[in-house]
Symmetry: C2
Subunit: 207 residues, 2 copies
DNA sequence: AATTGTGAATTGATTCACAGCT
DNA sequence: AGCTGTGAATCAATTCACAATT
């Protein structure tokens, strides 16, 4: 599987295809054309086909893609076949919010533990069943449970240090909610979600 | 100001330059080179210069950019000079989380009101001072307060209808947390934040 | 001497156009 | 006949290289 040279955006789209496919499977469709699936996903059919052929040939000319087979391929490529434990670091404002958010579970992820400098803060975790541990137990937890993915929602000043510790302990992929540019070794992937940035960006488009 | 043909990503970067600049102003620097600012922002200096020249010439050759003047330009371009009221639609899981999140305020935005089908749901808004109103008062509120920006965090099935109502009432920019592709007229801008998608995407990069 | 501003070159992503299967 | 797979063409964004300016 050629992990390199595949455009980042293609991989994002694979997830979207998977979701669009979910709707189709409900309708009991056996087979789907690139045209139909692409339009459900909001892209051009050639783009869908090109995205898929980065990973092989899965369709049947004249017919389309077998829905179940396609689903399997997408799961394989995306790595969503095997369960991945995810930890959350920083149970403040946003962090506690994310703990309660059920959208992750819905798509097959589960936050197995959370870490914070002051793990016992009041009212923070009410309603969530995820345990919150002290930050100094984090590295051990990662090693013991072979955690490869982490979500960080700590103050920006703290972010780089946390990331260093995560990487050191073996984390390979980080979803970063702290508004900072993080330095990581090249075998580690960071996806940034910057809420304030998105709002600020929108304000540009209001005239 | 040539709103069109400027790459979307450039505009995102302008916000990052603004932030990086904030750190520099603290250090009382009068002037800053594209090289210094770019490296603080994590980009190449030529990219910064190109990004800026979409909007004019603000530097002095041989010297760099005046920090204060640059800040003013960035605020002007981004539209962050004038205060913008923002509403939130959907006070469920994620929505109530966003209500409590203070990061928006920090960057000069404030959620002035929230709307939900069941505005009185328990414990949802404890700790937040934002009023939650019934969804059927939304359109009036938008018109009365000239709201142009909205954050939506409703279930995906509901998202398109909500968006239609927002647009109809005059909203021009939408930050969408619902995992759906939204249809909007071309004078309306949507930024999507899809948390589950980001996680799924990361799982690709774990080998 | 230092640093911006910018056309030209390059790199990257998307779309086209059509050959190749079923 | 219908639809995939893909090299070639186009479009977009980034980076280079250097002339222009202080």
């Amino acid at each position: 599987m050629p992990k390199v040279e595949v455009p980042r955006k293609s991989i994002y789209r694979l997830s979207i295809y998977q979701r669009s496919r979910l709707k189709l499977i409900e309708n009991n469709v056996e087979t789907v054309s690139s045209e139909a699936l692409a339009s459900a996903a909001g892209v051009k059919s050639t783009q869908l086909r090109k995205d898929l052929t980065y990973f092989g040939q899965f369709g049947t000319r004249g017919l389309g893609y077998n829905v179940k087979a396609l689903s399997r391929v997408l799961n394989d490529v995306l790595g969503t076949t095997s369960y991945q434990p995810v930890i959350l670091v920083g149970v403040g404002n946003l962090g506690s919010a994310l703990l309660r958010y059920k959208g992750f579970n819905k798509e097959g992820f589960e936050i197995t533990a959370a870490f914070d400098l002051a793990p016992t803060r009041e009212r923070r975790t009410e309603g969530a069943r995820v345990p919150v541990y002290s930050a100094n137990t984090m590295a051990d937890f990662i090693r013991n449970h072979q955690v490869r993915m982490a979500i960080i929602a700590v103050p920006s000043e703290a972010a780089q240090n946390v990331v260093n510790e995560l990487v050191e302990a073996g984390v390979q992929a980080i979803l970063n909610f702290s508004p900072t540019v993080l330095q990581v070794p090249e075998n580690v992937t960071v996806n940034n979600v910057d809420l304030a940035l998105e709002l600020e960006n929108l304000s540009y488009f209001i005239r």
